[in-house]
Amino acid sequence: MTAQPQPNSFRTGPDERGRFGIFGGRFVAETLMPLILELEAEYETAKKDPAFHAEMESYRTHYIGRPSPLYFAERLTEHLGGAKVYLKREELNHTGSHKVNNVLGQILLARRMGKKRVIAETGAGQHGVATATLCARFGLECVVFMGAVDVARQAPNVFRMKMLGATVVPVQSGAKTLKDAMNEALRDWVTNVADTFYCIGTVAGPHPYPAMVRDFQSIIGIETRAQMQEMEGRLPDSLIACVGGGSNAIGLFHPFLDESDVAIYGVEAAGFGLSGLNAASIAGGAPGVLHGNRTYLLMDKDGQIEEGHSISAGLDYPGIGPEHAWLNDIGRVKYLSATDDEAVSAFQLLSKLEGIIPALESAHAIAKVVELAPGLPKDHLMVVNLSGRGDKDVPQIAERLGTSL
């Protein structure tokens, strides 16, 4: 669909109805609508308040440990023999992933709104851990919904959340993964509207979440721009990131969307392969409406949502953030996909070559670096978002490689 007229800027969305082209919107029950409007108003006010930004800046520096380094992956680059590969080290953030960037923003907002109880959905558990962490820091009650399948495959994170004082609710409905955790979180929110703040973990959900979460994550791309200027004296030539809902990806991409010389790639989870069970909603889905927004969804011809599959709990979601759906349709970002097997190989490769164990989610992006970099010239600057660290995945990888811990 690249024949569509191109906008003057790719960075102005969403419109006042929360739309990115046809995608996005506010498809929620009436009970939630007044809250969503209140949240939007509160966020608009906070955005204009220097005190909000100052507070966020201070916690970013002293609590999260930002800026995260932009690191030249010398041995990976040598091994691949092409593009110069840089890693944006989001895995070094406090709690081990990019998720905390967004949670910090939302929790500061929840405090401004006087909310005492925070709920979240989580897949890999990284968003749950980040939410539990900031709730501990600010003395807020925290309830995390997690599919029962994910509770089993991300056991280390479940224990971390409990240590941090959160209640983890294993969700037994549907496929018992991220989608079902989000349904259950929405049900809780509808029931406890008065005192509860719903801290969504990715650029999905009803407006204003996709825009708000993107804004909080954009620090990734803003830092990358400045760091690359300093290290190489110019902008990167390409950016690449894994896409579950798409928050780490949009955080890296957004500040570069209007730089037409920067090629941008999102990587979906192809699971067993695009012809088998997968979680690649752009590659294998169609526009539909779920969890408050219109976007690409994996579903059958009757509009029933299909259960995706990915080895990575954080990418195992049948949708994608609405802004990504739009960026795909207008052709600004190219969406690729990586299978379970490719991700596991990339996981091992990065561990051995760079001494960095990536999250299985991030390993999907590394897998495409392995594919793309060799064909590119040596002066091509490629930035991959290392969205999280892989400690949480070690038991799962061990099992897959036939080792019992």
Binding site: E30, P34, G303
Partner: protein, 277 residues
């Protein structure tokens, strides 16, 4: 032709009682049994039939209606079959209004124009689509009203006076007041508080106001019928279906009668409501 929904609420008003609005999920526990259930509802005292269109991700529903939807989907129910069910019901009943209730995605994927045309032609009277607030009226609400189908809106405890006019603007048939903030099958509300909320709604609209969520017994129905124009019961009926099934989740010879027995008792409760007041 006057709308079947308007006619039915007018009839109940003439009889000085509230209307009984019953919810069942289409295709639960299987398509044939569900048609039998729907056909038996008016005889048992149901005034309006809300027919749930099953969806994999019913975000606003509690465990009972979630389970009913999954039973129906497992038994092969689709949107097309649900419209067939309406058509089959309408062959024998020209008067009982049917309101389709569900989520937007199956309708959107089917095609809005096509859905409205087929629903109307099958004999449906209106729809309740949970995840379409007034902010998204252009999607389905306005086209539905144009095609002569009622788009029935939910008003909730969080809908304040400022928002109420927008919620009541493009609507027809009746207003569905959700008695508690929560999912279907939620805790039973404080009926006195609900009475105040219904009065508030009635100051803003001439449409009948039906109250649902947490109404489980004939006593609850009677309490609400004292002041509301309609009483909606869903989870309790769907639970009656669930309890009548065999160990493998299949219908038994008690399934239809389990539903009609409960609906008869609810209908009696609704009729007691005003007499007591």
């Amino acid at each position: 032709m006057k709308h079947r929904i308007d006619a039915r609420f007018a009839l109940a008003a003439r009889e000085n009682r509230a209307a009984l609005v019953t919810f069942v999920t289409a295709g639960d526990p299987d398509h044939e049994t569900s048609l039998e259930i729907v056909r038996a509802l008016p005889g048992a005292g149901a005034d309006v039939i809300e027919l749930g269109m099953p969806f994999t991700d019913p975000m606003a529903d509690g465990p009972a209606i979630q389970a009913a939807g999954l039973r129906a989907l497992a038994a092969g129910e689709t949107l097309v079959k649900t419209l067939d069910l309406v058509r089959a019901f309408r062959e024998r009943d020209q008067d009982t209004p049917i309101v389709l209730m569900g989520y937007y995605n199956p309708i959107y994927v089917h095609g809005v124009e096509r859905f409205l045309y087929e629903a109307k032609e099958a004999g449906a009277d209106g729809m309740i689509v949970v995840d379409l607030p007034p902010e998204e009226d252009e999607e389905l609400c306005l086209p539905a009203l144009q095609s002569g189908l009622a788009f029935i809106r939910l008003a909730t405890p969080t809908t304040d006076d400022k928002r109420l006019p927008a919620v009541l603007k493009n609507t027809a048939g009746f207003v569905y007041y959700v008695s508690v903030a929560g999912t279907t099958g939620a805790a039973t509300p404080d009926f006195n508080v609900v009475g105040g909320a219904v009065d508030r709604l009635k100051r803003h609209t001439d449409l009948p106001v039906a109250v649902g969520f947490g109404v489980k017994t004939p006593e609850h129905a009677a309490a609400i019928a004292a002041y509301a124009d309609g009483v909606v019961v869903g989870s309790a009926i769907v639970d009656a279906v669930a309890k009548s099934l065999d160990a493998d989740g299949r219908a038994t010879n008690k399934t239809v009668s389990a539903v009609t027995a409960l609906v008869s008792a609810l209908a009696a409760g609704v009729r007691r409501g005003r007499a007591a007041a």
